[in-house]
Amino acid sequence: MPKDSGIGASSKRREDVRFLTGNGNYTDDINIYGQTHVYFLRSDVAHGRIKNIDTSAAEAMPGVVRIFTGADFEGIGSIPCGWQITDRHGQPMQEPAHPVLAIGKVRHVGDPIAAVVAESLAEARDAAEALNVDIEELPAVVDMKAAVKDGATKVHDDLTSNLCYDWGFVEDNKGAVDEAIKSAAHVTTLELVNNRLVANPMEPRVAVGDYNRSNDEHTLYTTSQNPHVIRLLMGAFVLGIPEHKLRVVAPDVGGGFGTKIFHYAEEAFCTFAAKAVNRPVKWTASRSEAFMSDAHGRDHVTKIELALDADNNFTAVRTETYANMGAYLSTFAPSVPTWLHGTLMAGNYKTPLVYVNVKAVFTNTVPVDAYRGAGRPEATYQLERVIDKAARELGVDPIKLRRQNFITEFPYATPVAVEYDTGDYPATMDKLEEIADLSGFEARRKASEAKGKLRGLGVNCYIEACGIAPSNLVGQLGARAGLYDAATVRVNATGSISVMVGAHSHGQGHETAFPQVVAEMLGIDESMIDIVHGDSSKIPFGMGTYGSRSIAVCGSAMVRATEKIINKAKKIASHLLEASEADIELKNGQFTVAGTDKSVAWGDVTLAAYVPHNYPLEDIEPGLEETAFYDPSNFTYPSGAYACEVEVDPDTGKVTIERFSAADDFGNVINPMIVTGQVHGGIGQGIGQALLENCSYDENGQLLSASYMDYAMPRASDVPFFTVDHSCQTPCTHNPLGVKGCGEAGAIGSPPAVVNAVVDALQSGGHKNVTHIDMPCSPSRVWAAMNG
């Protein structure tokens, strides 16, 4: 019987009501009395030296309040990077400065050169057109391999080269991996591109800065997944504003997918300028601006080799990847191709030896950072593609080859430094075979053939590391932050509860799911509990929402705080009931003396805490509010198996997704409806990457895909209904809820399934020479592969 409330119930989302009636409160909906608007003049060349900026004509334009250039930010901090990588030789990565407005040089199309603050956006834009900017165009560095050649033009003159770092993992294994590959019975090699993507949350970024002269307090309203992180990075490192004078608010946020994690120049600008002009300053990105200023995702060029013994056991994996950093280091960029990617290269398999080499490269392109999955989709894609290719080369069934190599005993220490706590990969594969009706595939293939279409089946597995992460571990790996989270449970006198959580909800449904947990623990109605999030002045602290960490890390903090509440409430109840504390039980919102019918209700206890007339004041304080910080002891490891069936039109190369099935293991599930929705969304984005989306630059660094006319977003007609199952559940062993996280799975697991299916379709159609097609598998690429 499905539950109708508490943990495991598909409670309907309470946040929906405001969104469905137009009552959401997104950052662009905020307007402050006296506000000005800023328009950023952005570079239209990829690389150039700024020789002169003449603002005089623009300053005379109507409505102009003030014009800022890089000169106004000399001496102001650089936009910081939150993760330092140490390279193969023990040296720190090269870390260039990143000014709020360009100083000296522009380094990518979209780099902000000047900012016009005016009474209206239209006036700011008009005045920006009157700015006279003299830029000497320099040769642009776009191709990563060319960028690291000797003599290549440097993106940053003060760095020794365009190589940010050359990372090896596990460096000590390199010799053994090389040896295993040399002596293998079979080696499958695959070169591939993980295409550059733009996250494209439907809400463009917005920032509103406000400054209060009376108390010297700054407020920034921003479209962020982690307001406290912005407060720390911007306050401490860029503008030098102490936390107690800086409030960061992220109200309703219209999707993030990683790209709203990072601290951006526009946030620092609006905060800085609000004080400088002594009026609120608002910036709303247009979509075109978003394309050239939101951090992009993926963009890896990889060679992977998989070694097998004579019995088809995987013996070693070796990879070499070029990872694009873009022109500057975005907040978490260096960690994505390294610790979020290399540590997953064992996948679901017992491969004993793994070596991952990553060269991170600066180019004259928009910075690249985490996008849904961040490093783990790149790991999964190459591994699951090379396994498919190996199966074909060896003439074995790709599912059988995977099953044969599955890790089956847990905990399992991989050769890439992580320990999987739980999982059951055969079970998710069994479940997939069932829900995807794989036994019926050959009949469906014949039916497609009869229509003149090529049908293909692609299957793959994935594992990811979520719930980032033990702070002492990530500290060793170069993180410049801790990665715990926090929650305060505030019980009010009449028993209702506000839970202040550090996680931020921008589509994940925390406002519904988090109260389900507290309601279950206390035995009270979900409607008595509200979540407060997204405002640094209301919440103790929080590292925010990304990496499928909200319920695993922040949810655990909330559980710990609620446990403290229960402990204190039991003390109060024992006093009211004149019984020993050890005998008090809490059930269905009633405190009962075990074995008796003596009880007090939740509301009696909460009232006593705030009206402590009959209260053990000598033992405990009045009030009922508790805070907990939770620092996980390990990552969580969701896993699953995905299947995609495609039809390819042999005349046009057009690929249609006919069926898509996902069997996931997320451990325990709080709200199945929300979890299913998260998987749907991830699959939608994964199909987008596999078939449609491509962020491309020409050789001069011009962004060719800078609007929805040129960047193909998945539409409703590009996808079918999905079959999603998460009934295989091996609970996480180290967090109190046994949860693993579900936000990224769909985007990680789906691209290889699609491409495996496309290759299978072509192979079955007789195109035996087609062993790989790079994403996106657009009609032209597929047609070219068939006719090449």
Binding site: F19, G22, G677, V719, F722
Partner: protein, 161 residues
């Protein structure tokens, strides 16, 4: 500046606008009806969809001045006066047809337009009709399901929650 007046969600409103002011900006900035969203600058995302004289229109493609004298309906006018969601809105909640909510007003307005002209659309018809509305969160599964459910069709056979 020119004076415009129109009926929005049944109320007569008027304002002074520049010639270049878009209907969406008039709704959002002048009338403070911020439920209608802006997701792009090339008329492709549909976040700004409203009804003008009963027809779904992307309000970023229309000047406020062009809507002078028109009857405009926005997401704010869809629920009953007491706040009760209409059948379509309710179906979106029941079937989890929204996540971040940013595309949602446009989706609801586009879907209402479909159901008015095609009371029992097929899956393919729903998907085709949503061609001009982008959602980045849901993979469209539950949006399509919600719209079909709102049209009174049995969606229980469509996979999962």
């Amino acid at each position: 500046m020119a004076k415009v007046s129109m009926t929005v969600n049944g109320k007569t409103v008027s304002g002074e606008v520049e010639g270049r002011t878009l209907l969406v900006d008039f709704l959002r900035s002048d009338l403070r009806l911020t439920g209608t969203h802006v997701g792009c600058d090339t008329s492709q995302c549909g976040a700004c969809t409203v009804h003008v004289d009963g027809i779904a229109v992307k309000s970023c493609t229309m000047l406020a001045a062009e809507a002078d004298g028109a009857h405009v309906a926005t997401i704010e006018g869809q629920a009953a006066a007491d706040g009760t969601l209409n059948a379509l809105q309710q179906a979106f909640q029941d079937h989890h047809g929204l996540q971040c909510g940013f595309c949602t007003p446009g989706m609801v307005m586009a879907a209402a337009d479909l159901l008015k002209n095609n009371p029992k659309p097929s899956e393919a018809e729903v998907r085709h009709h949503l061609e001009g509305n982008i959602c980045r969160c849901t993979g469209y599964h539950n949006i399509v399901k919600a719209i079909m459910a709102a049209s009174g069709q049995d969606v229980s056979q469509i996979a999962a929650e």
